[in-house]
Symmetry: C2
Subunit: 210 residues, 2 copies
């Protein structure tokens, strides 16, 4: 069926991964076609034949990013036995992921396109949707903890999810500024200090942050 015509001479998946890394490092507007084709090892007509356009390539790249780079963060959030461990794991995995030395620092979803016209730009809309989904995932996990009795019924899941999502966004900028893993963990610890108060824990020992 699809075996007609001259076969593609490059690995589409590998090229997409290279494109993802370029977008990750430079953002959507900062990544030029020259940057992309150079990293992907192909010429622009091949890029357009395989991916359609720069926009479409970015959308595929962010999808790959979501499927391949954020997994530890979100699987920890879902699978941790308690909400506290879920949030702690979420923050710890974020600190780890954002300070990998062999990768661009910070998060593609958070930093990829901050300056496009949000109401018009397709790219900006897509990233914003993904950020909203992430915050919703946090809120759902907290809601589950309320339902399970781990958190008090009057716990404000939405406010807490907003707070932790915002901390994660800030960690992207912090990472871009060259923050070490330890510095990111300082932020994670700070956020967990908030948990202690928010969850209404009466501390027997006066300080037990993270």
């Amino acid at each position: 069926m699809s075996e007609r015509g001259r076969p593609r001479s490059f690995d589409r998946a590998a090229a997409l991964r290279r494109a993802m890394e370029v977008f990750w490092a430079k953002g959507y507007e900062g990544a030029s076609l020259s940057d992309l084709t150079a990293a992907m090892g192909i010429n622009s007509p091949s890029l357009y034949a395989a991916f359609g356009s720069k926009e479409a390539l970015f959308l595929e790249a962010t999808d790959l990013y979501t499927r391949s780079e954020g997994t530890d963060i979100w699987s920890t959030l879902e699978q941790a036995p308690t909400a506290r461990l879920a949030i702690e794991g979420f923050l710890t995995e974020t600190a780890k992921a954002y300070s990998q030395i062999d990768r661009p620092q910070g998060c593609l979803i958070a930093l990829g396109a901050l300056h496009q016209d949000s109401t018009q730009g397709l790219i900006c809309q897509d990233l914003r949707r993904r950020r909203a989904e992430n915050q919703t995932a946090l809120e759902r996990r907290l809601g589950r903890a309320v339902a399970e009795g781990e958190l008090p019924a009057d716990f404000d899941c939405q406010a807490a999810a907003t707070f932790f999502a915002t901390v994660q966004h800030g960690m992207s900028i912090q990472a871009r500024d060259g923050a070490t893993h330890a510095a990111l963990m300082a932020t994670a610890s700070g956020a967990m200090a908030a948990w202690t108060t928010m969850a209404g824990v009466r501390p027997r020992d006066k300080r037990k942050a993270l």
Copy 2:
């Protein structure tokens, strides 16, 4: 002395303010010369004669931004009678500043140039320096509180400053996503919940966040 030659036909300070707003809304790379000259009401030769280059204009614009837009945030930090009120005011003023409806959302210093090559780009270096200065201001305020006995001697000022600075950076992205003042205040409250734990307060009433 400087009254020789044809006088400038536009208000340099007003034009700089317009340029600042464009950079604030679109970022350094996202703001084109066309955008700038249109907003400033001048032609490009006038821009270059008055400001030198796009880079120099941006640096002047960020300086104006620092002097004119961030004042409430940082004066509150310095002048509040206690560190707790200082941090609370810092966060509250940030939430207010980042959600002004008649202005670009978020912070120019935080969002202005996230994707330039950090080691090379002059713009990126300047913004990074300003972000570092802001974090240092937080750390100094906390250190003062330790010296005054408000905070315990083993209080980790650097870690706390990192945390609160990161929260503020995250609020810029949150604001860019259209967060309301209330949503930003939810984040501020979360950060103050962290304060309660970090400062080692033994809460008599179990919850008193912000």
